[in-house]
Symmetry: C2
Subunit: 253 residues, 2 copies
């Protein structure tokens, strides 16, 4: 009742396969017919079959592995990032919220510090930190893993005026993470701002997050403020969109 003009054959076939999957005829984890079989079954060329598979992959319904086949994707367990993930109670518990959330699902969590360096900040960081030209920042790059698959990349930028000479420059800034280290320097987290966007992964991210090309990422810019409303850090999160949910709880005035 919807399509007024004829659908391309590739979309038709993709729709049939999608319906078979949703109807449970093809169970999660199971193998689709091979491309050659689909060529014979639907009387279409290999190029078209390849496009059909590309369409299904782009919606995250299937994953392909060269030499093995195309599999119906297992519904990924979502990782929830709660609004209170920065709350003091987490720091005091000594367990990072990411780790707690993931392990509660029976999966293993790991964080890797990729690099720590003093750099000249990109302008979008300098702006948000209220820095002038010449001011430098400490950049901490982290990668978060679940079951040894990267799901999240985080770059944190901290004004050198705050970080210089403190444990923030060390690989492990101490128990409770960087926000505990901020408190030791007298900067208490009172407020934060997050800007959330959805976009396609950039080139390097496809590999770093081993996201299937065609699945989007959540791009989150986080800014923390201390008791004087001075920005303490800007953190840039890139999360695999299909495996993460952000939750926010907001009081209204």
């Amino acid at each position: 009742m919807a399509d007024r003009r004829r659908m391309p054959r590739s979309r038709e076939v993709a729709r049939e396969l999608r319906q078979a999957i949703e109807a449970g005829e093809l169970l999660p984890g199971s193998l689709l017919p091979s491309e050659r079989e689909l060529v014979a079954k639907y009387q279409i060329s290999s190029g078209t079959v390849n496009k059909v598979i590309a369409l299904l992959k782009s919606t995250g319904l299937v994953v392909s592995e060269v030499g093995r086949g195309v599999f119906v994707r297992r519904r990924p367990q979502l990782i929830r990032h709660a609004h209170d993930r920065y709350a003091r109670r987490w720091r005091e518990s000594g367990k990072a919220p990411f780790k707690a959330e993931v392990e509660a699902q029976g999966r293993s969590a790991r964080v890797e510090v990729t690099s720590i360096a003093r750099i000249e900040p990109p302008k979008w960081v300098a702006e948000r930190l209220g820095l002038g030209g010449g001011d430098h920042v400490l950049r901490r790059e982290n990668t978060y893993y679940v079951d040894d698959a990267a799901v999240q990349i985080v770059n944190t930028y901290i004004p050198l005026s705050i970080a210089e000479g403190t444990s923030l420059e060390e690989e492990v800034p101490g128990p409770g993470g960087i926000y505990a280290a901020f408190e030791e320097q007298g900067h208490r987290l009172t407020r934060m701002l997050e800007e959330v966007q959805a976009r396609m992964p950039r080139n390097g991210e496809v590999e770093r997050l081993n996201a299937e090309p065609g699945t989007p990422v959540l791009d989150v810019l986080h800014i923390s403020y201390d008791q004087d409303d001075t920005p303490m850090d800007v953190s840039h999160f890139v999360l695999r969109g299909d495996e993460n949910v952000l939750t926010y709880e907001l009081p209204t005035e």
Copy 2:
């Protein structure tokens, strides 16, 4: 320095074009060489050129129009959805925050009420509203337009026990929108929860949002609670990912 194994020719060519665009050799709004010209220039087949274009489209760098050509995308103006978009101050001002935000950018905003109906709620709505079997809800479907292009679809579900017989069942529930109507019924908004995900558009959404296939959407589930912590409504937002930013301001404990 990065690629250990040979890149497919289609990605190589896509990279060259992307660099040309980023270097400013191809300005936003300008026309790329036609597919036939690219075939000749890069000595590749038409199928490969088509794939190159598909790659560039999938990152949102270009848009194609049949019969016209492929254009470097103009950087879209972002629509910001502020954390305080439900604040009472907006209701009292009589101007919806969406409209205010968009018009501040010199663009035109419009909301269309697509349908209002009493229905049996989907289970994910019933769960969040705390409804049992047999309870019904009022569903209000809206589409939001900027410059006459749809950028946002919203479905709002309200328990019939709250909405029945009130102005919430009318197309225009009164000045100040539905939250003002809630207040008239004695339900004051005190708290809300949002769950944010990034995903690819589903079939119908590609057309309704006239999003280029290949650009993701933000999927936001919003739940409002009144002074008794009773859920008043569940709203499901689908936004074009490339044109919207969500911002959240969060106090810490």
